[in-house]
């Protein structure tokens, strides 16, 4: 059976959820071979084996942390040359897409970015993409070289599928460009204790209607009652009420959770672009004419300062 390379996104050996989703998709096409780089790479093996990786290729060097993107491209290229895979899958993070693109160019292969689904086809893997603010769905294939495909988080379920997960050392030699862009400082983002926005099963967002940074506390309280991530519309971010890292929309994150709750968000095209593929959509807004209500499965026309706290209390009561 053909092997499929899966690039592993991990933090000191802790594998991030989108990588486990990639393993689910990789198994539809062939046998997943994972590539884990940097500090803690070997510690990823257990989780990867549990979800279907037959092999885990690892390599650690200081270059991965000290220089931007290119060392990882060099390593992934070495893995492609060692394995001759049927496809290469990478998570659609900002860095993931950059790594995938440079790899594709180097190995003379086409690239498809931001796939939301992937299936085997007679002429190679077929990727589904959601485009034009999710108003269209396209199906595409790579027609030259080894398909390189980046996949958005939440595009597949994480499935247990125990496999060998044998760790093998990957031999990597860095090219001249690897040390081109130096990382001179790194400030880890402070943990909020909430799930990562793009990975969360539930996202609770606030917009212009929240009307102030201090009022985001009621959005956070609702999110915490559901174990959800907190999002914000561009209007709320531009007003300085919530950090840009939480922005949902065209210029922020694109999310596709099981449940999206929009509070005080009108639903302009820029916002819809980032959340329209959510499975269930719920909105609370004062304005009955707000375009967000065209998308919802359930909507409440009302003041979010009344509705949201009551909802939070009711959830807490029901959960006991």
């Amino acid at each position: 059976m053909a092997e499929v390379l899966v690039y592993v996104d991990h933090v000191d050996g802790a594998v991030r959820k989108p990588t486990l989703e990639l393993l689910t998709l990789a198994r539809r096409i062939g046998e997943p071979v994972a590539v884990a780089l940097g500090s803690g790479a070997e510690n990823t093996a257990a989780a990867l084996a549990e979800h279907g990786a037959v092999k885990v290729l690892t390599h650690d060097a200081s270059e991965y942390a000290d220089y931007l993107v290119v060392p990882k491209v060099d390593a992934l290229q070495a893995a492609v040359e060692a394995v001759s895979p049927a496809a290469v899958l990478v998570s659609s993070s900002a860095e993931g897409k950059e790594i995938a693109a440079r790899l594709a160019l180097r190995i003379g292969s086409g690239i498809i970015t931001d796939a939301v689904d992937l299936e085997a086809g007679d002429e190679g893997p077929v990727a589904t993409q959601s485009v034009f603010a999710a108003s269209f769905t396209t199906k595409s294939r790579v027609i030259k070289g080894t398909p390189v495909i980046t996949v958005k988080p939440n595009s597949a379920a994480v499935e247990a599928a125990p496999a060998a997960g044998a760790v093998e050392a990957l031999s990597v030699s860095f090219g001249e460009l690897a040390t081109g862009t130096k990382v001179t400082g790194r400030t880890p983002r402070e943990s909020t204790g909430r799930p990562e926005l793009t990975e969360a099963a539930i996202v609770v967002s606030g917009g212009r209607g929240v009307n102030g940074a201090e009022n985001f506390a009621i959005i956070e309280a609702l999110a915490d009652s559901l174990g959800a991530a907190v999002g914000a519309s561009r209007a709320a971010v531009d007003a300085g009420w919530y950090p840009h890292t939480n922005q949902v929309g065209q210029t922020g994150k694109s999310v596709s959770p099981q449940l999206y709750i929009a509070n005080g968000i009108s639903g302009a095209i820029q916002h819809r672009a980032g959340m329209q593929t959510s499975k269930t959509i719920v909105a609370v807004n004062k304005d009955p004419e707000a375009p967000i209500f065209d998308l919802v499965d359930y909507g409440v026309v009302g003041d979010l300062f009344d509705v949201v706290p009551q909802l939070t209390e009711e959830i807490k009561a029901r959960k006991g």
Partner: protein, 262 residues
């Protein structure tokens, strides 16, 4: 010292228009008004700020690859304050994918001459966000991308990249390729004077032969990917809308419970 900045910009269909695909599954550009991609305005702005903060002699060239109308995007950038423009236009470019676009841009950037390339973080139509990395790979120069802060001094570009897990300080020697996010600073509006001046600024037109690119390397036939189908997403079925009359939160909780979210 002089500093030659090339800003890459894209002419895109207006996101608030009715965007759709043409019969050959390329983006239809005829039925929807186009404009300079909003995210590229931030790239033009940062080029202007680097120029304003520099003692060097800075020249800003805006570069686009696109159909005839793409000149509008160049005019906008010129009216914001860029010095000159290059328009790569060729019928054989129709349907070019990201890999092909990066080839055309890289060849044009080399022909124009550059110390620094500045791009937006992504286009507002394709939203792939991979072209700056591809251009850096082709040019063989450092990639300093997705910056929310950027500065240039003594032949070095520095910037801050805000990632999901951490905020990173980056540094590279020129020449380099930079991309900037929408957090890098509000783009200026063209002044009346700027708009008038832009009309007199030079816009060069190049075609594929000027760049020594063969027709089969680009366009729909030269693409390394193929779109097999494009379908409009079915409209979501109308949901339940209730007016809050004191019990809205509880009603919503009831809905969430019925969907097993609680």
């Amino acid at each position: 010292m002089s500093l030659r900045i090339v800003v890459t910009v894209k002419y895109v269909p207006d996101a608030t228009g009715d965007r759709h695909f043409a019969d050959d599954l390329t983006v239809d550009r005829d039925d929807v008004d186009g404009l300079l991609s909003e995210l590229d305005e931030y790239a033009v702005e940062q080029a202007l700020q680097i120029s304003e903060n520099s003692d060097d002699d800075v020249e800003i060239t805006v570069l686009t690859v696109g159909p005839e109308d793409a000149k509008d995007a160049l005019r906008k950038a010129l009216s914001m304050g860029a010095d000159k423009a290059i328009h790569v236009e060729d019928d054989d470019l129709h349907g070019t994918d990201a890999i092909g676009t990066s080839l055309v841009l890289a060849k044009a950037i080399e022909k124009a001459g550059y110390d620094l390339v500045i791009s937006g973080m992504a286009s507002t139509d394709g939203t792939g966000g991979v072209v700056p990395a591809l251009v850096a790979e082709r040019l063989g120069v450092p990639q300093v991308t997705l910056l929310s802060e950027v500065s240039v001094e003594d032949g070095t570009v520095k910037g801050r990249r805000d990632g999901d897990a951490a905020s990173e300080q980056l540094e590279a020697s020129l020449p380099a390729v930079v991309s900037v996010t929408d957090q890098s600073g509000e783009a200026r509006y063209p002044s009346f004077k700027g708009i008038m001046a832009a009309k007199k600024k030079p816009v060069e037109s190049w075609d594929l032969s000027d760049l020594d690119i063969e027709a089969e390397e680009v366009g729909l036939d030269g693409a390394w990917t193929k779109v097999d189908s494009a379908a409009e997403r079915p409209a979501r079925t109308a949901g339940t809308i209730v007016k809050d009359e004191g019990e809205g939160g509880k009603q919503l909780a009831e809905f969430l419970a019925s969907q097993k979210f609680i």
